[in-house]
C-alpha cells in the first residue's frame, strides 16, 4: 500500500466515523421528534404537572430551569469573570495564583455529581439553604465557574499586546487599560464562554438530584428559597414511570430542552464568529 492509498484509507475512515456520529444523532433526534413532537403545544408548556399524563405539563420545571439559570448566571458570571481577570492580569507571578490555577484546572475535570455532594454539604446543610433554588444555583454556579474562568482568560489572552502597549503609552493606568481596552476587545469571547457554560448548566441533572431538586413540584417558584424542579429532573421523572404516555411527555420535554440548549449554543456560535471577524488586527 503506498502513501497515497494510506491517505485515502484514512480519509474514508475519518468520514465513516463522522457519519456514524451524525447518524446516531439523527436517529436519536428523529426518534424523539416522532415520539414527542405532536405532544409539544402551548398547553403542554403552560400546564402544571399531573398524575394524568395527557394533562401534565412542564410549567413548573420550565420556570424552575429559568429561575436556576438566571440565578446561576448572577452568581457565576461576576465571580468567574473577575477571577479570570485577576489570574490573567494581576496574579501572574504570585504563589497564590499558581495554587489557584492548578485547582481551577482540576475543578474543570471533576465529575458533576461531586459538585452535587459539595453543594449538599456546604449549601444545603451547613448554610441551611435546604432544597431551595438558591442552593441549586450556587451548586451549578460552582460547577460552571471553571469554564467561565478559563474562557475569560483565553479571551483576554487573545487581545494583542500592542493594544495594551498603546494604552499604557498614552498614560492609561493598568485598570483603565483593562477596563477600557482589554475587556471590550475580549467581551465577545467572554460572552461566548459564559453562554456555553450556562447552556451546560441547563442540562445538568446529577448535582441537582443530590441537592434536592424535586421531581414533582405542583406549584411555580416565587422566590429563591422555594422548592423547584428543572426540565432534566422532570424528564428523568417521566421516563422512570411505567406508563407509556409519560414516555411521550418525556420526549416532548426533551424537545423543549434541546430547543433551549441549541438556541443558546447558536447565540454563542454567532457571537464567536462575529468576534473572530472583529479581532483581526
Amino acid at each position: 500500500m503506498n502513501n497515497r492509498q494510506k491517505d485515502n484509507l484514512f480519509k474514508y475512515w475519518a468520514i465513516l466515523c463522522t457519519c456514524i456520529g451524525i447518524l446516531m444523532l439523527v436517529i436519536f433526534l428523529t426518534n424523539i421528534l416522532i415520539t414527542g413532537l405532536s405532544r409539544v403545544d402551548w398547553a403542554f408548556i403552560t400546564s402544571l404537572p399531573s398524575r394524568k399524563a395527557e394533562l401534565a405539563g412542564i410549567k413548573t420545571a420550565l420556570l424552575g430551569t429559568v429561575w436556576i439559570l438566571i440565578l446561576t448566571a448572577i452568581i457565576a458570571i461576576p465571580i468567574g469573570v473577575a477571577a479570570g481577570i485577576y489570574l490573567e492580569e494581576y496574579g501572574k507571578k504570585s504563589r497564590f495564583a499558581n495554587i489557584l490555577e492548578i485547582n481551577i484546572t482540576n475543578l474543570a475535570g471533576v465529575p458533576s455529581i461531586i459538585y452535587g455532594i459539595l453543594g449538599l454539604e456546604v449549601f444545603v446543610r451547613t448554610f441551611g439553604l435546604g432544597r431551595s433554588i438558591l442552593a441549586g444555583a450556587l451548586t451549578l454556579g460552582l460547577l460552571i465557574l471553571p469554564i467561565i474562568i478559563v474562557a475569560t482568560r483565553e479571551a483576554i489572552k487573545a487581545v494583542p499586546k500592542t493594544i495594551r502597549e498603546a494604552s499604557f503609552a498614552l498614560g492609561a493606568s493598568k485598570w483603565q487599560t483593562i477596563s477600557k481596552q482589554v475587556l471590550p476587545a475580549a467581551n465577545g469571547g467572554i460572552l461566548t464562554g459564559v453562554i456555553l457554560a450556562l447552556s451546560r448548566a441547563v442540562g445538568e441533572t446529577a448535582p441537582l438530584i443530590i441537592v434536592g431538586a424535586a421531581t414533582y413540584v405542583s406549584f411555580t417558584p416565587n422566590s429563591i428559597n422555594d422548592e423547584y424542579s428543572v426540565l432534566p429532573m422532570q424528564i428523568f421523572n417521566w421516563i422512570s414511570r411505567p406508563e407509556k404516555e409519560f414516555a411521550v411527555n418525556a420526549a416532548a420535554a426533551i424537545i423543549v430542552l434541546l430547543v433551549i440548549t441549541f438556541f443558546m449554543n447558536g447565540i454563542a456560535i454567532y457571537l464567536r464568529n462575529k468576534w473572530q471577524k472583529k479581532v483581526k488586527w
Binding site: 498614552l170 498614560g171 481596552q181 479581532v279 483581526k280
Partner: protein
C-alpha cells in the same frame, strides 16, 4: 560667572541621559549611555538589530518597566527632572512623552475614540473640548481631510499609513512635548513613508522627536542629530551631517556604508 553659564547650558537641553546602564536579567543591554537632546530637534537612533535602540527609546517613557528582569542604573532627566525618581507617576510622565510604535496599533474603536482616548482617561468629558482636540490632532497629523466625513468609522478600516498617522494624532492629542517613534514607517509603503517623514519635519516645530530607524536615507532626510548604537554602546553621537559625511569612528563609517548591519 561660570556657574551661570552652566545653568543656561543645562536649560538648553530637553532630555539628558547620564551614564545609563540597562540589564535584562544578566544581559547587559545598554552600557554607560550619556546623551543630551535639545528641544525641537529630531534625533535619529541607528544601529544594527539588537544593539539597544528600542531599549533606549523605551527608557524615556518607562515602557521597559513592565519587562520582567529589567533593571537600570544611571539617570534620565527630562526638563531637569529625574523621570526614574520614586515620586514620579508614569501616567504623568507619559503625558509629557508620547510614543508611536513600529506597527500601527489603533484601538479597535472608532477614529474619534482613538484620538480622544488619552483625554478621556484623564477625565476630560466636555464634548466640545474633545471635538476640538480631535480635529486639531487629526489636522496636525495630516489625516483630517481624509477622515473628517466619518469619524465614527472603525480605525481598523483605515489603510496602514492612515492608521499610523492616526496613532500619531492620538499621541498629539494629549499634548506631549517629546514624541518617541520606533521605526514608525518600516511597515509602510513608500508613499505613506514620505507622508510620515513630511509630518515629522512639520511636528519638529512644536515637539522634540526621537526616532529609531533602519533606513539611513530616512535618518539623513529628517534628523538633526544621529546617534549610532552598537552592541549596547553609544559609539558616536553628532550632527547628522557629520555622522553621514565625516564620522569619527570606524564602526560608524562601516555601518552607514552598509558593510554590516
Amino acid at each position: 560667572m561660570a556657574e551661570k553659564s552652566e545653568v543656561v547650558n543645562f536649560m538648553d537641553y530637553k532630555l539628558t541621559a547620564d551614564k545609563v546602564n540597562v540589564w535584562y536579567g544578566n544581559f547587559h543591554a545598554l552600557k554607560d549611555i550619556s546623551m543630551r537632546i535639545r528641544p525641537n530637534t529630531v534625533t535619529a537612533l541607528i544601529g544594527p538589530s539588537g544593539c539597544g535602540k528600542s531599549t533606549f527609546l523605551r527608557l524615556l517613557n518607562r515602557m521597559n518597566d513592565y519587562i520582567e528582569g529589567f533593571r537600570m542604573e544611571g539617570h534620565i532627566l527630562i526638563d531637569e527632572k529625574n523621570i526614574y525618581a520614586k515620586r514620579v507617576r508614569v501616567e504623568e510622565l507619559r503625558k509629557e512623552v508620547g510614543m508611536v510604535f513600529q506597527k500601527p496599533n489603533p484601538f479597535p474603536k472608532s477614529i474619534y475614540d482613538n484620538v480622544v482616548y488619552g483625554l478621556t482617561i484623564r477625565n476630560v468629558r466636555d464634548k466640545k473640548t474633545l471635538d476640538e482636540a480631535c480635529e486639531n490632532s487629526l489636522k496636525q497629523a495630516a489625516l483630517w481631510d481624509e477622515v473628517k466625513d466619518d469619524l465614527k468609522k472603525s480605525a481598523l478600516a483605515l489603510s496602514g499609513g492612515q492608521q499610523q498617522r492616526l496613532c500619531i494624532a492620538r499621541t498629539l492629542a494629549v499634548k506631549p512635548t517629546i514624541i518617541l517613534m520606533d521605526e514608525p514607517a518600516s511597515a509602510l509603503d513608500p508613499i505613506s513613508t514620505a507622508k510620515i517623514e513630511e509630518l515629522i519635519n512639520e511636528l519638529k516645530k512644536y515637539y522634540t522627536i526621537i526616532i529609531v530607524t533602519h533606513n539611513m536615507q530616512q535618518a539623513g532626510r529628517i534628523s538633526d542629530r544621529t546617534a549610532f548604537f552598537y552592541l549596547g554602546l553609544l559609539i558616536e553621537y553628532d550632527t547628522t551631517a557629520n555622522i553621514f559625511t565625516n564620522p569619527k569612528e570606524e564602526k560608524t563609517q562601516s555601518y552607514i556604508t552598509g558593510r554590516f548591519g
